[in-house]
């Protein structure tokens, strides 16, 4: 928690700089003393459940809300109290907010018309945008005649026409069906790469955040719980909340018995065994911690693994599910504890020999597990 918020606000050449920003509505603190630096050209995601404060933070970046305290700088200009219409920031709304009484062309041109740009310059820029979002054939259509995906493109073109320094995207993929999501996701990444504009995406969908962004801030109750690359956040969650929020994870509570060079040994009462895991946080002997391991990091087999460096546990198959590319197992340990295991189906019938109530061994390398302190 401590290192999650401090170390990541020291990014060099911060383009967006959020300093100790707090926003409260009456007694409710929506955003609680948040600091964050985002470098130029990054595709940054703010990830969190509903009511975590991510939307409020986004609206403060856009200028629809102003912070109760703290500072927001964009490109070294203090924009904390600048209204939305003066900020070099544009937003793509979750509802797309395409103006229903204007055709595609007029929607996209709106930002420039407000800036009193010459007609020919506007026309040229609109053509560029129409090409970028591939809506050239639809320029005279009204929004009512467009599909959801096309409306989103209008919203994107409209938000990009002023070449903003920052583009804010509020749940950009939430309203699209699965196939379209995947396509749009890559298109957004390409556009971001081509234009070099800094993107800030707000989403509740971890998959969206993981695939889209170069860095993620996981937010809960108005604070960042971890800021890092998708890989860091998935492989090395820095606390229980993040571990639990991103993907599935098995956790075992226990007490520290030994501290090695980079691994920590923990005795878990619940399963009556000693486990070791990678420790990235300073701990003391006797401290209560969790050992956490992802289902796909666990090996499963009928015979006892021979490798002595493995953590290994004995159990029975309590439940299993075949998902095509992989199988999911619920293994009941001797103490009654259920552990989730996910196994790739590399060969056509590799793991099909496992059936309900089979005795199995599960094991993992200590470096595949992490120690969670808070």
């Amino acid at each position: 928690m401590r290192d999650a918020t401090t170390t990541n606000s020291d990014v060099k050449d911060a383009f967006i700089s959020i300093r100790n920003v707090t926003k409260s509505f009456g007694d409710f603190v929506a955003v609680d003393d948040v600091s964050l630096d985002i470098p130029k050209g990054e595709l940054f995601a703010i990830l969190g459940g509903s009511g975590c404060g991510k939307t409020t933070l986004l609206r403060m970046l856009a200028g629809f809300e102003s912070p109760s305290s703290g500072r927001i700088e964009i490109d070294n200009v203090d924009v904390t109290h600048q209204p939305a219409y003066e900020r070099p920031v544009n937003m793509m709304f979750q509802s797309y907010a395409v103006f229903p009484h204007m055709d595609v062309e007029k929607n996209i041109a709106y930002g420039l018309v407000k800036d009193r740009v010459s007609k020919t310059a506007i026309a040229k820029r609109v053509d560029e945008m129409l090409e970028l979002v591939q809506l050239g054939d639809f320029r005279k259509r009204m929004p009512g005649q467009l599909s959801g995906g096309q409306r989103q493109r209008v919203a994107l073109g409209r938000a990009l026409i002023k070449s903003p320094k920052v583009l804010l995207l509020d749940e950009p993929l939430a309203a699209l069906d699965k196939k379209l999501r995947e396509r749009t996701q890559f298109e957004l990444m390409n556009i971001q790469y081509e234009l070099g504009i800094t993107f800030v995406v707000v989403t509740h969908d971890q998959e969206e955040a993981m695939t889209l962004s170069s860095r993620i801030a996981v937010m809960d109750e108005g604070r960042f719980r971890q800021v890092g690359t998708p890989k860091e956040i998935y492989e090395f969650p820095s606390n229980r909340f993040v571990a639990d929020f991103i993907g599935t994870i098995n956790t075992f509570a226990g007490k520290v018995t030994d501290i090695g060079d980079d691994t920590i040994s923990v005795y878990c009462d619940e399963i009556g065994a000693s486990l070791s895991a990678l420790g990235r946080h300073p701990v003391e002997i006797g401290q209560s911690v969790d050992i956490a391991v992802r289902p796909e990091k666990i090996f499963i087999g009928k015979s006892e693994p021979e490798d002595a460096i493995h953590a290994r546990l004995k159990g029975v198959v309590d439940d299993l599910g075949y998902l095509g590319n992989r199988s999911l197992y619920h293994i009941k340990l001797e103490g009654g504890r259920i552990v989730q295991v996910s196994s790739q189906n590399r060969r056509r019938s590799a793991n099909r020999f496992l059936e309900w109530d089979d005795d199995v061994w599960i094991s993992w390398r200590p470096r595949s597990a992490v120690v969670l302190v808070d």
């Binding site: 856009a62 219409y85 709304f93 979750q94 103006f99 709106y110 407000k114 919203a155």
Partner: protein
Amino acid sequence: MRRNSRFIISTLAFGYAFLYIPLVLVVVYSFNDSRIATVWGGFSTRWYGELLRNEQVLDAAYLSLRIAFTSATFATILGTMAGLALARFSRFRGRTLFTGMITSPMVMPEVITGLSLLLFFVTLQQLTGWPGQRGFSTITIAHITFSMAYVAVIVQSRLSGMDESLEEAAMDLGGRPLRVVFDITLPLIAPAMVAGWLLAFTLSLDDLVIASFVSGPGSSTLPMYIFSKVKLGVSPDINALATLIIAFISAGVFVAWFVIRRRA
């Protein structure tokens, strides 16, 4: 599809008969040659001619239209502002009370509204000397008071169904708040405003009770004129007048319907 049963057809016929036979009677008798309104004496358009030579009727009709037009316009402006405020004002204690209060003229008995307005005008006159004479201005003000509530409610319901991020998007793209109202909000609530104006116009043309309270000598609106004439017995030229009004309103309804259909 199922064939319509005889029961359904006769229900329909009765329903429409109930609604339209009185109106049809008025139209038919407006072409009656006889001086006695309820006895058929052959076809004639003479009452239309007489109506057009009747200065009193023309004055009353002109006054009514002027009042309706002015009051509908002002009611639309004020009602739109009230509707905007009601829909966009952030939550505060007692908001529901205020929302309810604006609709009170809709449920208040007209006699009460009329009486209170009369008292108000009389007091105002004693204090400031205005209005010296009750007539066009007092009736117009009275009509604005109750019809703006209708406009406010229509505009508010349209706004509450509208995505607020539309306005935010316009502001995000550089539109200053006042510009955004004209670029986005007003065009989107225009249908509600037109509907509100038409409603206010008809309500004003319709009104007899409130106008009777707040009008002065020599300023009779059309409904007041018709009502006072009918008290002396139904004369055939009133039938002709009623027919013209029916034609006028039907045309208005068709135009409104056509405009709305083309928008959609």
